[in-house]
């Protein structure tokens, strides 16, 4: 066991896989000497050399596109998109190739690769640095989308992702990169992808969320508890595929469900979770499945971001409304 924050845990996961598997290569903008703008890849180039950990030219389509080629040829690239707002130039490569090559070739070709990307708001950043578009990615057939909420999960999920033969978008909640410290197992371990985590069992309402919002929900839960409301907190971990079973079991118990996300509301994760709830447990529902999310607007610049973001109060507000329904 070692005390780690999320940056350290991700770095550790990369270190373990780089060490263990010569096919693993890490590249992207400024991940080499610089060690990444968030220092996630710090020290890795020094340890594994410039062939295995290196800076690419500034071109996201290029990064993902070349990673696809490498993966087809047998490597296991782990590439970084510097910020969530800079992944869009790579959309064509992600949608048209990384997520399709296996299906297109009837399983003859594979693209085992991980696209790492810090996402989400709350760090007083410039425009394009605060987005949370998990729903957009979850809608892409062939892609897996995951996001950890703790250093422990970050490590175990990333190792599992690198070992997976699928293309995986690994979304890192940069807001809690260094905010949470935790004992994390040393050495290698994996967390099964696609399984949600019931963080706290509860009885009155299920709250589904992931990434940085787990912590916000936990804050709301403290207040809710004072009001006598018992919340079951589910950390989704996997945005696609979604763990229906865990959601079904929970809602059958609580009868109420609320999804908390950072992204825009319409066509977001909240609607998908609500749909799953009504498909799986309509007759158990005591209130309409609800969502707390961003609004259908551009994430405001730092001075206005608090209006957009979900904090403990906004979550509590919806919990209360839902429970009182």
């Amino acid at each position: 066991m070692k005390i780690m924050n999320m940056v350290g845990a991700i770095n550790d996961a990369l270190d373990i896989k780089l060490n263990e598997d010569k096919n693993v290569v890490v590249f992207g903008e400024d991940v080499g000497v610089e060690g990444g703008v968030f220092r996630v890849t710090e020290g890795l180039q020094k340890k594994y050399g410039v062939d295995r950990v290196f800076d690419s030219p500034l071109a996201e389509s290029g990064i993902v596109g070349t990673a696809i080629g490498m993966a087809i040829a047998g490597l296991r690239p782990v590439v970084e998109m510097q910020f969530c707002g800079f992944i869009y130039p790579a959309m064509n490569q992600i949608i048209s190739h990384a997520s399709r090559m296996r299906n297109r070739s009837r399983g003859q070709l594979e693209t085992p690769m991980v696209i790492r990307m810090p996402y989400g708001g709350g760090i007083n950043a410039l425009e394009h640095h605060s987005e949370s578009m998990e729903a957009m990615f979850g809608h892409i057939p062939g892609l897996k989308v995951i996001a950890p909420s703790t250093p422990h999960d970050a490590k175990g999920m990333l190792i599992a992702a690198i070992e997976s033969n699928d293309t995986i978008l690994y979304m890192e909640p940069k807001r809690i990169y260094r905010a949470i410290k935790q004992e994390v197992k040393t050495g290698k371990f994996t967390i099964e992808l696609g399984k949600a985590n019931v963080v706290t069992p509860g009885n009155d309402i299920t709250v589904v969320t992931f990434g940085a919002m787990v912590r916000e929900v936990q804050k709301a839960m403290v207040m809710a508890k004072e009001m006598g409301i018992s919340v079951e907190l589910i950390d989704l971990r996997s945005i696609y595929p979604i763990d229906r079973e865990t959601i079904r079991n929970s809602i059958k118990k609580t009868g109420r469900i609320l999804t908390v996300t950072e992204g825009p509301m319409s066509f977001g994760l909240g609607a998908e979770i609500s749909q799953i709830a009504i498909e799986e447990a309509f007759l158990y529902l005591e209130a309409p499945p609800a969502r707390v999310s961003g609004y259908d607007v551009i994430v405001p610049l730092p001075k206005g971001e608090h209006h957009y973001m979900q904090d403990a109060y906004k979550i509590l507000y919806e919990i209360e409304r839902n429970v009182k329904y």
Partner: protein, 368 residues
């Protein structure tokens, strides 16, 4: 060669004239008569298949198809040089090169008939599927090149794109990455003068497509893509350069798409008869045919005979493709992930339930 034919000198490399005469023997690639003859026959096969497919399409037996007609030598010369260990990254007009790597005509038929199995290339290795999103495949080539260099392998990548494709951002990023990484990739632009209806003059204001090599610090060359010997020579030199660590290379192969863009296209809307005829004289197979006949290596009779054989073979494979087993519902789910997630299993299950319900429903209705 790359110095003399540096694209800033505005020269196009040519070995054979329009009548099949060698312009300068010193320019000839090293190649045996047997190899040339084989290449010619293979290209003839490709052309025969190609023309026949257009017919199948007219008969409604195949969906949209992009003909190779007139561009066979670019693939043909590639076929003459590419080895089993090398990678082929096609665009979608490289039939000859694909066949040489072990892709079967039947597979190509399957693809254009609407089966993903047409991309599986069961007997071929190191061939990527046809790439529909223009120019996107070039990045894959650069990435494969990285793997080759990383593992110190002795492989090469042959990657294709059209003239229209040079306008896409991915073209730029791919050659730039390959240039920075100095990887053994031979990028071949099939400049067939058009991207659908858009002439190359509306794609770019650059003097040539080859000159774009300078933007990436890589070797570039323009070559007569209808001249088998020129094309082969340039590929041989490119291969050598890559083997010496001097890759990547950007080749502009000048050619003409004699057919339509695809079977749904009508080129008379945007091309003149005169233009088409002027290119007719430069037909790549005619030129090689003349060369071979002059050398006594080939005759019209042999050609006639072999084309008949080819036609039969094409038909045989086509009919095999037509008898491909029915597309089962489970196949749309099966290859999405390395292990099918529960979500997809549920969806498949739902589809199967629907089918059961549907057959009952139809049975009921027909009973009435």
């Amino acid at each position: 060669m790359f110095k003399e034919y540096n694209p800033i000198n505005k020269l196009m490399f040519q070995v054979m004239d329009n009548h099949g005469k060698i312009i300068d023997d010193k320019l000839m690639p090293k190649v045996t008569d047997q190899r040339v003859l084989k290449a010619y026959k293979d290209m003839l096969f490709a052309r025969t298949a190609d023309l026949q497919i257009v017919n199948y399409q007219r008969q409604g037996r195949i969906f949209t198809y992009p003909p190779n007609y007139g561009q066979e030598v670019i693939s043909g010369a590639t076929a003459s040089i590419i080895e089993e260990k090398d990678w082929l990254v096609p665009a979608f007009r490289e039939m000859g090169a694909m066949l040489s790597k072990g892709v079967t005509l039947k597979e190509l038929f399957l693809l254009f008939m609407g089966y993903e199995e047409g991309n599986a290339y069961k007997n071929a290795k190191k061939v990527l599927p046809i790439s529909v999103p223009i120019a996107s495949q070039l990045l894959h080539a650069a990435g494969i090149g990285y793997e080759i260099k990383y593992n110190k392998k002795k492989e090469l990548v042959y990657a294709f794109v059209g003239d229209g494709g040079t306008s896409e951002g991915d073209f730029h990023e791919a050659i730039n990455f390959a240039g920075v990484w100095k990887v053994p990739v031979i990028f071949i632009i099939q400049n067939n003068q058009y991207g659908i209806s858009t002439p190359v003059s509306m794609q770019t204001a650059s003097e040539s497509l080859a000159i774009k090599a300078l933007a990436y610090g890589v070797k570039g060359i323009q070559v007569d893509g209808n001249d088998y010997f020129a094309m082969l020579k340039v590929l041989q030199e490119s291969k050598k350069a890559c083997e010496n660590g001097e890759g990547p290379i950007l080749i502009e192969a000048v050619t003409y798409r004699k057919g339509a863009h695809t079977t749904s296209d009508d080129p008379t809307k945007y091309r003149t008869k005169e233009e088409e005829e002027s290119w007719h004289k430069k037909d790549p197979l005619d030129r090689l045919n003349k060369y071979l006949q002059d050398k006594g290596l080939w005759s019209d009779k042999e050609e006639e005979k072999i084309i008949e054989q080819f036609k039969k073979e094409v038909d045989r494979q086509f009919i095999e493709a037509e008898n491909f087993p029915e597309y089962k519902p489970e196949e749309i789910f099966k290859y999405m992930y390395s292990e099918t997630p529960q979500e997809l299993k549920d969806q498949e299950h739902k589809l199967m339930e629907f089918y059961r319900w549907k057959s009952e429903k139809i049975a009921q209705t027909s009973k009435k």
